[in-house]
Symmetry: C2
Amino acid sequence: MYERLKGFRDFYPEEMSARRAVFDTVETTAARYGFREIGTPHLERTQMYVDKSGEEIVEELYAFEDKGGREISLTPELTPTVARMVVAKQQELSKPIKWVSTRPFWRYEQVQQGRFREFYQTNADIFGSTEPEADAEILAFAADALFDLGLTADDFEFRVSHRDILGGLLRSFDADVDVRDAIRAVDKSEKVEREEYLGLLTDAGLSYDQADEFATLIERGDLDEIAEFGGENVEAAVENLQNVLAAAEDFGAGDVCHVSLTTARGLDYYTGVVFECFDSTGEVSRAAFGGGRYDDLIESFGGQPTPAVGVGIGAAPLQLLCQRAGVWEEELTTDYYVLTVGDTRDVASRIARDLRASGNVVEVDVSDRSFGAQMSYADSINAASVVIVGERDLENGEVTIKDMESGDQTTAPVDDFPGDRGEPTYEDYE
Amino acid sequence: MYERLKGFRDFYPEEMSARRAVFDTVETTAARYGFREIGTPHLERTQMYVDKSGEEIVEELYAFEDKGGREISLTPELTPTVARMVVAKQQELSKPIKWVSTRPFWRYEQVQQGRFREFYQTNADIFGSTEPEADAEILAFAADALFDLGLTADDFEFRVSHRDILGGLLRSFDADVDVRDAIRAVDKSEKVEREEYLGLLTDAGLSYDQADEFATLIERGDLDEIAEFGGENVEAAVENLQNVLAAAEDFGAGDVCHVSLTTARGLDYYTGVVFECFDSTGEVSRAAFGGGRYDDLIESFGGQPTPAVGVGIGAAPLQLLCQRAGVWEEELTTDYYVLTVGDTRDVASRIARDLRASGNVVEVDVSDRSFGAQMSYADSINAASVVIVGERDLENGEVTIKDMESGDQTTAPVDDFPGDRGEPTYEDYE
């Protein structure tokens, strides 16, 4: 017996049906917003990730040399690939470019609850607009996807922040601050004790008092106070954040967006609004997903300056949120099982075909089994109805339809089954 | 600028939309037959492939050592993974097990027309039935998937063969035949000259006369003659093939199934009926896809003896067949573009949300663009209608709806737009 690799998962049909329903809902929502699906390679040159994230990223990658001597990696995230694709066709693509896709990614990291080495994400991005409406459309799409999954505004919240507010504030102190390190400290602030957090900020160049003042300012989150404290650059960033929130309000996501400047997002490449989605009840403590603006990436990939904003929705954390909210359904349904008794395959097959033609899920016997064994199987696949096609019934020109929930059954003329009924039931022939 | 890896593809939205439509159709057809979707890892231990296919397979694999010292490979095919999953839960799973999935696979091989290093396949398999109905259901599902794609019985044919007819015939000669090699020769027979083919058969142990006789017998394909020539084992195999074809006839795939004993399928693990799908016009010369019975694999993977039959439909060859038959459509459609003139975002957003709620694809301005620029963009995304929400119109309580094909436009009361119309058009308000 072979073993599955650690950190990888087999999805059997029940769990997969719930996952598929969630993927389909998120993709359908994205499609309604005009995001267009793309398909992307699952391997890329390792250098692309090193350039974007530094040499240390290789430790986390499934990186190797291929048989042609190329240094390649299983893609750990979508953004570099999408950036490459935008650059490759930047002349031809009409702006804004709005792309979506759902697929697996890989990172070699410690396996823990809700974290796997192979994980799935839906990414939606807009390229080519600096306007607050673009940020807001990402927020609105993400909120609508959750609404379409059955969640309500009471179930989740988007904590919205802005990199330039944080960066501008940090630069406004009379200190030599490593903004990148300081923002990473903010990103950790909710996971560590306050003293440790202030320690990280002082490591980044602030004095202890400055760190305390900065931390207090962003915890309080009073945007007017912050704009006044931070000066011109911070003012502009505050205005941008307010404009994004106003657009998100118009776009229907106002109720779930909350300013939270202690939200920073770990990744270095964000440049403007960033946000994370949290379970409102706090039962799921990790962020369900997040996103933000990254205006510099395309240029750093050799393209023309192209602003960008996006969101990456991980399937595993989203599953936790859906389960907490009670909208995760692992269920296999079957509309009809067409049961054969004796040599009735030709008629049973005709009925099965007719039922499938109306979109029903229909199974027939492929194992030459007894009446009882077929009935047990029909039960095991949650068949709503069983159509019994028996030799003796057929002599009378009849089949039997059985409602599996009530156990009621009745006969129906074989020539009128299913007739013009898309989903014939016991009641139709009773 | 970064380069994509050779043999890998970027799918931009137009091409992806056609691919998605095909995947969705095939999966919907599978669902109606009661195939249940599974999700599978994209990496497995290399040993699994070596055990199944021999040490030489490693040359074709993206195989490497992970950071934990495990010898792993990107999955080159689904079957071993599915076999592993069946074995892991063989007690719990009710039989027949009917699984389907669509996903990428990887092989490091020569890149040529229609062959890539990253390729996509839909696999559908039935485990747990030796009955001809199981083989026939695979054939019927595959045929129905093509019908649902818009192909007709004139567009394609399934060439159906049987490994035990070929094996039994080969063993009936007074010679020490390597059946595996001889079947591989049959698999190549249509791609090489007859003399070379006969040479391969003599390499496998037949005399030249025997090779000629064997080749002639299976080319002629007279099942009665073959059964008589081959004796008892061949008779049983012929009967099985006939039973499968009879069941396929009942299941609606009779018109497209043709006996073709020169079809052998290259892979060693097939044990019974095998088949390949070909373009009837011959324009696409390669098989579009194929499948067959492999009753021994699960046991060889450490499971209880479990018969199996399946089909693997490759996206690239299927695309060629669809293109040849004229049912491949690369098109992006948008139902509505909601255009804002002046400060009308709140109303425009409300309209966009209402239209999306009825399932429409709706885009709005996220780039703060002029009327003209918005109209060009609407054109570029093939918007069917543009809803113009202008400040002045709104003062009169109106919006304008423009049919983009005819250019006709008319006004509509903003309070009644879209009203209870799921897909409001110019005509509704004319």
